[in-house]
């Protein structure tokens, strides 16, 4: 089919907006999926070290919820015609480096790893999700709903500090280390993934001031999470 002279060619404006958002949307879903897989692996490892059978069951349940998120994100990617592993691949390095640079030395550090890392990442996704299509946003809102892990971590860390107040200093340092590494990986993603960053900026131009303002919000949320643990941010 050829266009008649004067005919409107190209996609309609709304379809064009959809196309603009597509790379960032696929990136968002890929990052959530790889993050869910990473959290699943860590939660399963934490479960193996859990002090009681009830804790093992709880951690297995939370880990299972991550697999459910992965399955649902895969479903949305399939609707968009994108392969799950292809969407996840750009995020290997950020997540695996976070993983490699922050090795928990005990059970409480392992719990904080998930709490701090997932909390930070989920806030990042929530900022991006404001600007995606409705179907994707609904899905993201649902999978970002806390599967009960925050209460579980808060309870265990607070109990751990009560039992031995000296651990508070070490865990506070650990929290700063975790968020520092998360920030560093987020910066890398912002630089590497132009589509995602454009979405994060609401489709406007990307500038370092706006990016930094977003990251500052994430750090403030992190500080609130640390205080909930009874720890100095």
């Amino acid at each position: 089919m050829t266009d008649a002279p004067g005919a409107v060619s190209g996609p309609t404006p709304s379809a064009a907006a959809e196309d603009d958002r597509r790379p960032g949307t696929v990136d968002l879903l890929g990052a959530i999926a790889y993050g869910a897989l990473t959290a699943f692996e860590r939660l399963a490892q934490d479960g193996a070290a859990a002090p009681s059978l009830a804790d093992k069951v709880t951690l297995a349940t939370i880990a299972g919820a991550q697999v459910d998120h992965l399955r649902r994100v895969r479903g949305r990617l399939t609707e968009l015609g994108v392969d799950l592993t292809a969407a996840m691949t750009p995020f290997h390095r950020a997540f695996d480096d976070y993983h490699a640079h922050t090795r928990p030395r005990d059970w409480l550090e392992g719990l904080m790893w998930v709490y701090v890392g997932s909390g930070f990442a989920d806030d990042f996704y929530a900022e991006v999700a404001v600007h995606v299509d409705d179907a994707t946003r609904t899905l993201v809102d649902e999978v970002l709903t806390d599967a009960g892990q925050d209460d579980f971590v808060v309870r265990h860390v607070r109990t751990g500090i009560e039992a031995d107040p000296r651990v508070a200093g070490r865990l506070a340092l650990w929290g700063r280390r975790l968020v520092g590494e998360a920030l560093s990986q987020a910066q890398r993603v912002v630089v590497d993934r132009a589509g995602l960053t454009a979405l994060l900026m609401g489709g406007g131009g990307v500038d370092v001031v706006a990016v930094n303002r977003t990251l500052s919000r994430l750090v403030e949320n992190h500080a609130a999470r640390m205080r909930r643990l009874g720890l100095q941010p």
Copy 2:
């Protein structure tokens, strides 16, 4: 309330049968739950060592199905008024010893660990489940349905043998070691858990000949699974 002279006292015959089956039913559900938790942990560890991202996703999905089984068995135990961890506790030793005595040395041995162990255990549960109440039997039938893991393991082991035929001998030995350990733990459970064993015998008396006949059937099924892998049983 006191019984009038001559009144029928005690439960009705069918309620009495229900009561007789209750300890074994709770044991069956506890064993399935603890087995699911154990399989979840092993699958998550195998996933961490998986050669490709697609394999990681598949193993995470299969591990997630184990968590779903755990959740559903917990639901049935709650209906029966039994706490999940209380029901699982009698089976720690058998599963943990199986775990401790059979440490996979690589990815293929890890896959076979789940395939042989879950296959054997599921056959055992299926023999018991013939004799439980309808609601429990329906649940057990559903959770014993293979979540796709058998095909996954068969494909990987066959590919591994094609790539290096020398591994076939080592894996065949490994399969024998696994089923030997599984038999040893099954024998222990049969001796320790009278209610479960009575169910396994269909409510009739327990004798060593009948027990051994059951275990022989399990070994025959194991041999068929090994042949499916392309391995000498």
